[in-house]
């Protein structure tokens, strides 16, 4: 019995957006914390921390996200956490985002002129104050555009969570397609929904980048 593709089927797909958004939000929040730690290690004056962070970044940028998802998914099972797509997907995407945001933010921190740091030292500020009040606020300004750009990549990346059985936008599309057999319409709709999520962010990223380029030319 093949179901027709009607309004209810379309709504089922549209409603699955919330899980894509939830997973993106969790991974982005976790990735922001992890990424800050990785970035700070990467520019640390302690050599082993630098190498550790570099190795972490290389590892996650040199392997497919799909394999990272599989390893976390099956790895959690080995460590006794059971089969849990939510946990596995959010953990894997968090680790993934930490590496990419860490590398992006390292660049932003290094783009802050070293005179700023030196002035902070000269004023007797400690590491925490120097980072919190002097370096990071200035780096944050540069970081907006590439961070939003990565957020688009992360939202697209959450589609891979469907492969380990997490029901979000892509998986909802597959489920409906298996019942209705109109892949052209179903995946067309799913593609449009992703586009609606990602395109405004891409425009924001481009707009902030251009505005920043103008600001620094002056």
């Amino acid at each position: 019995m093949i179901r027709p593709f009607g309004i209810n089927e379309a709504l089922f797909i549209v409603e699955a957006i919330r899980w894509t958004l939830a997973l993106s939000a969790v991974a982005f929040a976790g990735g922001a914390i992890g990424g800050l730690i990785v970035a700070l290690c990467r520019v640390s004056s302690v050599a082993p921390l630098r190498y550790l962070a570099l190795g972490y970044i290389r590892l996650f940028q040199g392997t497919p996200l799909l394999m990272q998802l599989f390893l976390v998914y099956f790895g959690l099972n080995i460590f006794g956490a059971g089969i849990n797509p939510w946990l596995a997907a959010s953990l894997a995407l968090t680790l993934h985002a930490s590496a990419f945001l860490g590398e992006i933010w390292r660049g932003c921190i290094e783009a802050v002129p070293s005179g700023q740091s030196e002035a902070a030292w000269a004023l007797g500020l400690g590491y925490v104050d120097r980072m919190k009040s002097i370096v990071l606020p200035q780096a944050a300004k540069i970081a907006v555009a590439p961070t939003v750009g990565f957020l688009v990549q992360l939202i697209k990346g959450t589609s891979l969570a469907s492969i380990i059985g997490f029901v979000e936008l892509t998986r909802a599309g597959q489920i409906i397609n298996n019942a209705t057999f109109v892949p052209f319409k179903v995946f067309g709709l799913v593609a449009i929904l992703y586009f609606v999520l990602c395109w405004p962010l891409s425009l924001v990223a481009r707009w902030t980048e251009r505005r920043f380029a103008v600001a620094t030319q002056r």
């Binding site: 497919p64 394999m67 688009v152 697209k156 589609s159 992703y194 586009f195």
Partner: protein
């Protein structure tokens, strides 16, 4: 944790992994070459073409860059047969990867083309070169040289992305892993080995690309 890692089933099927890796390499290099051709044509259209061409190229770039690759490959493999366009899994994988990398590479190469100064092209015209020669030797080659680092990191990302084609039963490295894990249940071990193989491929690609750069672009920039 009382789990013993057991790599024996993986090693017993290692030749299967190697043949999967071969397909991954074929798909990656095929998509790189075809994608670069697509990108050069689109970048030329976007920088010098009439307005409708520019709109089409812009739409292509925005659609591809703002939707997941997984959906693109589903659309090509499951959706296009509705229009009578039917591919085998490996061909669909190659088409999807080419379409995908073509969009990213267009933006990269366009940036390179825009960095070529007008005087260069005018000098070419003054020397009596034909438009095709000007485009090839004066525009494209220096443009590729300028954007080479960005382009090659996009290619490495392409190779890693190609693992996704295993979902439409293409026969790449990740798919070989799926086969072995469903026969042996040594899931973690299989994917650990495969992840390591992808990492080796990524490092090998980046080494290969720096060799190619030396071979193709090792001439002084200006006197």
């Amino acid at each position: 944790m009382n789990y013993q890692l057991n790599f024996a089933p993986v090693l017993a099927n290692f030749d299967h992994l190697l043949s999967g890796m071969l397909v991954t390499l074929e798909l990656s290099f095929g998509a790189m070459l075809l994608g670069t051709v697509v990108a050069i044509v689109c970048a030329a259209g976007k920088t010098g073409g009439p307005r409708p061409v520019r709109w089409v190229v812009d739409a292509y770039i925005e659609i591809i860059r703002n939707t997941p690759f997984l959906i693109q490959i589903f659309f090509i493999f499951f959706g296009l047969p509705a229009l009578g366009i039917r591919f085998s899994p490996n061909t669909a994988a190659l088409v999807a990867l080419t379409v995908n990398v073509g969009a990213y590479a267009t933006e990269i190469i366009r940036a390179g083309i825009e960095s070529i100064q007008k005087g260069q092209v005018e000098a070419g015209t003054a020397l009596g070169l034909r438009p095709v020669q000007i485009f090839r030797y004066i525009v494209v080659k220096p443009a590729l040289r300028t954007v080479y680092p960005a382009l090659t990191s996009q290619f490495i990302y392409l190779m890693l992305t190609s693992s996704v084609v295993s979902v439409i039963s293409a026969t790449d490295l990740a798919a070989a892993g799926n086969d072995i894990q469903s026969q042996t249940f040594a899931s973690f071990e299989v994917y650990l080995v495969i992840t390591g193989m992808y990492l080796v491929l990524a490092i090998a690609f980046s080494g290969l690309f720096s060799l190619v750069r030396r071979w193709a672009f090792d001439y002084p920039l200006s006197r």
